[in-house]
Symmetry: C2
Subunit: 202 residues, 2 copies
């Protein structure tokens, strides 16, 4: 296969995902068919199936794309300069904002998330593990500088992510929006308190 | 109205709720009709409607009953003797256990929870506020004894409940059961750490 062919294959794959995402947003995941996607791209459904073996695979590709954007931005914040606590706050606020924009404001995309939760659990779990690992990086930096106390880094990042479920999990963001509870800044304060060095009880 | 009549009215109300709960568990909330409930009780649907104006009201009554049991047990633990931290642990573990028994093991009851989340939000919100208030009582005791540091008690209890969402919220208990994350004991450790007196950064 020549380089140009390879390039164009990647390109077609990308174009299928872009059109699929647009249709999922416009008419919803359930109502969009592979034939609709093919028609928009002026190609045959058989050609679409050369790249994705099912609508589920396309869905997985679109979901993965949306998640990767969040992961890249989270990574950028985790690797920037400065003390760990404000960086952890910026990181958590950004995950909340991006997930809210992606999945909550848009009811059609929200439908896609519901399906992802039920069908593409591997993709979701991989994303949650990636986000937990990035949060773990910042906690590790804070532990190294003495800002945080976290003898078990993996556990600390899992607890910090779990504590933020109301603000990270698309279904919980949607469900809790109008329910009583702390603001995201108050919740981050609580998480940072949980990570802070404590008075020893002797 | 005589006392006997009043007693028997309350009794009929209770019997409707008991039968409704049994049918919701056996055949599911959606499939159970008011006529089914009436038939089991050998009364007319019109008589059931004297006590509950709709199937939704019956649902609300059943849901409320299940929630009240958790509230009573939580209250009992909150008001027992001993240091606050182990009591908070017992309280949170009990809420998790009772909610898991009630809503997760039983797929038919889980359907009822889904409906409650969508339709009876007031009942759910009142329950969450009640549980937060009970957790707040234990945090207040810990703050008074110096075990905890919680200048804003309401906020501390909202944060502690929010942090425990994975273990309190029926949908999250069901969804997260097989997903990576901390154990409930690890998560309670993290919450207690968040409530513990901290080293002052001067």
């Amino acid at each position: 296969m020549t380089l140009i062919q390879e390039h164009s294959e990647t390109d077609t794959r990308e174009r299928i995902l872009v059109v699929a995402e647009r249709l999922f947003r416009q008419i919803g995941y359930q109502k969009t068919t592979v034939a609709d996607i093919a028609k928009e791209l002026r190609m045959s459904p058989a050609n679409v199936y050369r790249f994705f073996d099912s609508k589920k695979s396309i869905h997985e590709g679109v979901a993965r794309g949306l998640m990767v954007e969040v992961e890249i931005e989270a990574q950028r914040i985790a690797r920037s300069e400065g003390p760990a606590a404000p960086r952890l706050r910026q990181l958590m606020t950004t995950i909340n904002r991006m997930n809210t924009e992606r999945y909550v404001g848009d009811s059609k995309l929200h439908e896609m998330v519901e399906v992802a939760m039920q069908e593409d659990w591997d993709v979701c779990v991989a994303h949650m593990e990636c986000i937990a690992a990035i949060i773990g990086e910042v906690i590790a930096q804070g532990a190294a500088s003495g800002e945080f106390e976290a003898p078990d880094l993996l556990l600390a990042s899992l607890c910090a992510c779990t504590a933020m479920m109301r603000f990270f999990h698309p279904q919980m963001i949607a469900q809790c929006a109008t329910k009583p509870g702390p603001t995201i800044d108050q919740m981050i304060d609580f998480v940072i308190a949980g990570l802070s060095p404590r008075v020893r009880a002797n």
